[in-house]
């Protein structure tokens, strides 16, 4: 990747119809764009709208291309470049399994508390923690949990929304 590459979070409103995700992913793979993370879920049932949150990176010219290419897909209603349009909030949810006993188990609980992660499953020798936050916070949590017996990670990828009263 060239040095001018920037990371961007795009929110894309799409018609909730079969194949629309394949169109988006096919566009990225066919044109060689990066996808760092991608989430999708229906957001307005009555209007049949889903929202795709997409984190990508590229030079400013490539980012503009990505937006234009997305925008011309027929079932896409709106492409919004969150960082470009103003302040926004980005969150991710992670489920993290730690298998440990004794001192390590206690330590994992303490760290979870500091990170405001919740225990959503507990066995005598394991925990599943749930946490939400920015990607970096989850990365840090994972780093600390690794030596304590982290065995499995499941992450949603980024969801994002603009701050303030404006909506996309």
């Amino acid at each position: 990747m060239d040095e001018t590459a920037e990371r961007r979070t795009l929110s894309v409103l799409v018609e909730n119809e079969p194949g629309v995700l394949a169109r988006v992913i096919g566009l990225f793979s066919g044109r060689g764009y990066n996808i760092e993370s991608l989430t999708v879920a229906e957001v307005e049932h009555d209007k049949r709208l889903s929202r795709i949150n997409l984190v990508t990176s590229g030079s400013p010219m490539v980012i503009e291309q990505i937006k234009a290419q997305l925008d011309r897909l027929v079932p896409i209603h709106k492409v919004s470049d969150l960082g470009h349009e103003g302040p926004y909030i980005e969150r991710e949810l992670a489920l993290i399994k730690v298998v440990a006993t004794g001192e390590k188990r206690v330590e994992s609980l303490r760290i979870a508390d500091i990170f405001r992660a919740h225990v959503v499953d507990s066995e005598i020798d394991s925990f599943v923690f749930e946490m939400t936050g920015k990607g970096g916070k989850i990365d840090a949590f994972i780093r600390l949990m690794t030596p304590l017996g982290l065995t499995e990670i499941s992450r949603t990828g980024v969801v994002a929304i603009a701050r303030g009263k404006e909506s996309i």
Partner: protein
Amino acid sequence: MTSAAEDRPPAELTGAELVVRTLVDLGVEVVFGYPGGAVLPIYDAIFKQNELRHILVRHEQGAVHAAEGYARSTGKVGTVLVTSGPGATNSVTGLTDALMDSIPVVCLTGQVPTHMIGNDAFQEADTIGITRPCTKHNYLIKDIDELCSTIREAFYIAAAGRPGPVVVDLPKDVVMARAPYENGASPGNGLAHPSYRPRREPDADAVRRTVELMARAKRPLFYAGGGVINSGPEAAASLAALVRRTGFPITNTLMGLGCYPGNDPQFLGMLGMHGTYEANMAMAECDLMIAVGARFDDRVTGRLADFSRGSTKVQIDIDPSSINKNVPVDVAMVGDAGLALDALAAGWEARGAGSDAGALAAWWKQLEAWRGRDCLRYRNSSTTIKPQYALQRLHEATKGRDVYFTTEVGQHQMWAAQFLKFDEPNRWMTSGGLGTMGYGFPAAMGVQVAHPDSLVIDIAGEASLLMVIQELSTMVQYRLPVKTFLLNNEYMGMVRQWQEFFHGGRYAESYMDSLPDFVKLAESFGATGLRAQRPEEVDGVIEAMIETPGPVIADILVDKEENVYPMIPAGAAHYEMKLGPEHGDLEERSEDGMVLV
């Protein structure tokens, strides 16, 4: 009082009948197709009526190219009907071709019944998956209630904004179900599309800035492409008016030929890899470039880092993704080419100042000097037919006539682009983006269907023609008098040329061994074959080709080793153009260009 007839529910038609009815109501006159199990109900419905004409091609690729030829020569959407599985996969090349060249085509594909989809049923293919990247959009219809409105929407999408191919996949149970005909408001029928609404009106500020740049430019240049043709003949007229009014020079892309009169003195010819010296030098040296419906293709720009470095660039395009894609521009104008050109013309008149006359005169002096190099000059022969000579004679014999040209892909295509001159849009149909050998012959068929009384000529190479020769049978069946002007060099000439230049003259697999006798081949189909072997026979054969009724293949045996010049080797800059032996440039042999396409 309500009559008994009004009380009755509306008559139900089969899905197949609904398809036909919808097409007819959309104004479709002809569909190019090929039957098979999954579409037999639709063929049955076609059989029972006579408003919609069907042309039976001999290969589904030909159906799509024919629809492209129809579309490009009329400005309407071309329509195709093929069966599931192999019918659909055979159409993929045509669809990709239409996507690359922005040609509006709707392709109806049969599909196995909905309950069998995903079961590897007989002649099942994931048509939606396969065609997703080679169509502008595609639809799988699972419910007969969506059949009519989806087909209408498909026609809207194919034609709106930047045109392209659209596939509608029709499972057999849907076309056999029954429902009343429905012609309510929907996209393509009065209602705005919920998400696809391309912008047509140019931004007023971009127009104003462009007019300002035009007034100040010392070395301006218009660079116009297929987008002008897609916008319609009015756009071409607007372009011609603006170019003449400003006195600026203009060059065309391969796709744009005909959008500006080819014989006009302000026309510098085609640009790009095999474009004219004056056009490419003008691109390299201009200080203002106004791109209209042209997409800065790599065959046009050459090495990007050295592409027209000193110019301010304005780009007009209806597709925002074409802007700033390869080349960053200074003014981006999203909108319809015709509307944008009209807005520029109005702005130009309103400003009233005109251009910098002194600078423009100096610029024209330079352009004329470049033109004086006579870059298309070639050494003629009294014993061998030079392909350029054959095309010049063809141009002489056809100019002023109601004539349409298509081409295959290769050297003959480039010579045709260089030596034929088009004074109107929609008269020149060639595969620009995909470079599909086998395009021109079936495309000519589609052109001839649309213009039964016009002269339609496919400029062909023998290798290309052999990819699609079976369509001669279609031409004979429907009495489509397409004339094929076959520049037969017994080589995949363009491949041979690259091997000569970049692969040490090792002609791997580019010699066309065991060629058929094209005269006898034509005759075996019930068509006419003619042959010219010597320069003095060319005129006679051209005349006979034009005068002979029905389809004709004129086998013109041309110089086997002629090369196309000028040439900007792939990845080189415009100013590194090779003019060829006639101009003292030695034929280069190097391995440098090998990695570049």
